[in-house]
Subunit: 522 residues, 2 copies
């Protein structure tokens, strides 16, 4: 053992006088790379797990939404707490779609039901409305032993899956089958499970998955983790981030040189881009997927977040079924979450997916695959139940529920407008209309000097810009490079979630910063 | 599209007169195996995801605890509901450690805190004790925006991680660092994350992981999913399922022919075997792991479940640190869950791991890896907080808490005794003392005729036995083959969880069944 290791003793005790001896047995046992065999300065080789022998897929994986910028933001928050002087008073976290963190109030009905499920003694409490109680009783009856503390079936509590199917049926006007519904801890887990099924080398080539650029980094991170080929297709910024079939064709032909394309991911409403796809556009994508025999993954977690006049949410399921044969038999997985919409229950981790048209044998494999993960958390399942089976007219909770829901959604619509307008009013910025979801993805036109400066620091110019913004204003956004952008263009993603007054002030500060930044690097 | 596909229309509509035409483009695009290219009877090739091109690791994965036997048990439950006559009135689910499902009552203090966190209005309710309120307030202060609906940091809410570190410090008498603590959705997720880091081909060989046989099938399932080599070491049934160094050496030398061994898993107290390891045994394992440069994974989720007089839980962390250099610098991950112990909150999905002595660069990779999964569910985190920071003497909840906790644990101890004694009283069965955890793993000595009969059905004799038991008595257990057993020996795992009266009656029925079974195949 080396002195160096002793000095980094896990208990933080200062160890002195440790004998420096190297256990050669341990050394030679496993290290294969030449670099690792060398007595490197940080002695990495004495651990059994080092950067040299760590899962290479994890090494290359990136997750920008929680990347270095966010780590720096947390440091700044600590510095502010410790009284360090900054040109701002607080960090504004516009980097993540985390509604309650920036002041959104939970929906009372949901929290009533969760409290009743967690502590059923409250069913006797007259302060809780009868419909919330009935709701909780139904959920508890679906739990073994009447407790949310028991494991559910791996695809979730049956009655909740049935409620999800009824919700989809109402939404689309097309029957849904509860056996196609799988509950999950948020949408992310379900997305990863479906991607995982598709991992299979084909004619010596990796499996490939088409994802939009810009994209939500869960996809790039998961594809990296699974060693699947990321086939990026560019959304067309000039036509409000729509998908063009020609671009899809270009992307897949490039993708085919390195991989066997197996699936296409579409995020609608868009993250980070905020567009809402038109029905015709969805039909084109379905036809394209059919032509190339691709599994469809429709990330529809923002289905309740549609703001722009004239925009409407069309589910892939509805469009695909209505298109008739042969499209209505295509494999499709659609994802939903309780983290977004008007509820914003991110921390609870609830979600569902509807997976249709699977081969029966494949469905068995899917069920087996999720069974080893035991079950999604039951409180998340209960939350999804509230989302798909909300109070009805005449129920005691109805008026409050509608008021709260519409309050959130109309305020978000107002904020979407405010964000779009403000960014478009800044010279050197342009921003497509935020039609839906919770984000804007404005383009920034940076002076050449700023680009050169960034490159001299080995940073993408959008990263350089975002760090400057954070240090000078406390505003934390995610640079465009974390989502992907057309070469030579620069963007950032901001949420529209800060409460109206804070958002107004943030946008004002942002505008001033941008003007100063451009001036500085002119 | 073929008529067959039209007949299996997802909406269940009967479609007639569909034109049978085969889309050859889609056909030829992806199917590589000769079998798949053929127009097989089930037309599997028309789907983009088939058994032929599904992730091969998922295909071989097994998870016995929720396998075919459990599926059959659910069918039988439905048949009983529909009024079908059976020689029993209900299915007894002794297959899974699902405490609340079989009548265990939740710990009131935990449920108080969860209800308060879910619906903070209850903080004003005088019916809730002040210590539960203080507890909930602390958790809510740790949540952004004061809501469990906001995302936490990926390793969990900081104050809860600090409470976990304090708990470990008290338990072991050795300081723990909160930055080594990572909260998770149950223990399973954390175990998979650590295994995932270790995936790395070395000198053209797969990474290998030593796991006990019999083992908890999460391990075999995860290793199959990750295409890692399972290196089984046999627990010694003749010395109450202890680990022998010679057997570990034998296993690793076999393992090395096919893989690069990288880690060893130890489950203590044992699942499915119910033993509690002695300190000397743990020291031997640590020395073995050090000698072979193995990452230690200590599955210690049953640390509160120790029943036998003279048995005591020793954490790997404590033993390893107390052994001093060089052992105290070994990499170790220890796992804990809120699903077991006296709380049995399986459905809530809360857990934590303490991971010590990682290379700093590796730790960064671990943090990055979990960040893409956003965060463990906050209600599960709150539950872990209650477990590691329970009411103290003098707190208003203390008396009830202790009464409930000790009530569960002493009843479990009584049931452990009852199960051991009963199985040992049956001719042709032998059962090691259930010293801890929640399971017995008795050996059954089957008549040759029964073994032949099972083999004629292409079943492991333990599977055949378990199916017979289920059909004739409604008792659902897991056959030994799901956990692994020495060739030519047969076992089953049963939980000790049914409530005392139900357990007594189950054991009586079981005894009668076994005698009849042996008689039948004599």
């Amino acid at each position: 053992m080396s002195a160096l290791r002793l000095l980094t003793h896990p208990l933080g005790r200062e160890v002195t006088g440790g004998v420096v001896k190297t256990s050669l047995n341990r050394f030679s046992a496993q290290c294969t790379s030449v670099a690792a065999r060398k007595l490197s300065t940080h002695m990495s080789c004495q651990k059994c797990l080092t950067l040299d022998n760590l899962n290479p897929n994890i090494k290359v994986m990136e997750y920008a939404v929680r990347g270095p910028l966010v780590i720096r933001a947390a440091e700044i928050e600590k510095e502010l707490k410790e009284g360090k002087k900054k040109p701002f008073k607080e960090v504004v976290r516009a980097n993540i779609g985390d509604c309650h963190a920036v002041g959104q109030i939970p929906i009372t009905f949901i929290r009533h039901v969760l409290a009743l499920c967690a502590y059923p003694e409250l069913l006797k409490d007259p302060k809780f409305p009868e419909d919330a109680k009935a709701h909780a009783r139904t959920i508890l009856q679906g739990c073994r032993g009447g407790s949310v503390g028991s494991y559910s079936d791996s695809p979730g509590i049956e009655i909740i899956r049935r409620h999800v199917a009824e919700y989809i049926t109402r939404r689309d006007g097309i029957p849904a089958n509860f056996e196609d519904v799988m509950l999950s801890d948020g949408a992310s887990n379900a997305i990863k499970v479906i991607l995982k099924l598709l991992i299979c080398e084909c004619e010596g080539k990796k499996p490939g998955v088409l994802i939009p650029i810009p994209q939500y980094p869960l996809y790039s991170a998961s594809l990296a983790e699974f060693d699947m080929e990321q086939i990026g297709y560019y959304l067309d910024e000039d036509s409000n981030w729509s998908l063009k079939t020609e671009e899809l064709e270009r992307a897949i032909s490039v993708g085919k040189t390195k991989s066997t394309p197996r699936a296409i991911v579409v995020i609608n409403p868009g993250n980070p881009t905020g567009q809402v796809l038109e029905r015709k556009n969805i039909e084109d994508i379905i036809k394209f997927a059919h032509k190339h025999n691709l599994f469809l993954l429709a990330d529809e977690v923002y289905q309740d977040n549609v703001y722009a006049p004239g925009s409407a949410f069309h589910s892939f399921k509805k469009v695909l079924i209505e298109m008739g044969a042969p499209y209505n038999e295509m494999e499709l997985a659609s994802f939903m979450s309780c983290s977004k919409g008007y509820m914003g229950e991110c921390g609870i981790r609830g979600g569902y997916s509807e997976v249709i048209n699977l081969e029966p044998e494949v469905k068995k494999m899917l069920n087996k695959c999720i069974s080893a993960m035991l079950c999604p958390n039951t409180i998340g399942q209960a939350t999804i139940d509230c989302v798909v089976n909300p109070p009805k007219e005449g129920d005691p909770s109805y008026a409050t529920f509608i008021k709260e829901k519409q309050g959130v959604l109309s305020s978000l619509a107002e904020r979407a407008r405010m964000v779009t307008e403000t960014f478009n009013s800044v010279e050197g910025m342009s921003c497509n209309t935020v039609q839906g979801a919770m984000y804007a993805f404005p383009r920034i036109h940076l002076p050449q000097k700023a680009i050169d400066k960034a490159k001299s620091l080995n940073q993408d110019p959008s990263v350089f810009y975002a760090f400057q913004l954070l240090e000078e204003t406390g505003i934390c956004i995610v640079p465009g490079s974390g989502f992907g952008q057309v070469e030579g263009t620069y963007h950032f993603r901001t949420t529209i979630l800060p409460q109206p007054e804070q958002l107004k002030s943030m946008l004002k500060t942002f505008k001033t910063f941008h003007q100063k930044f451009v001036q500085e690097y002119k």
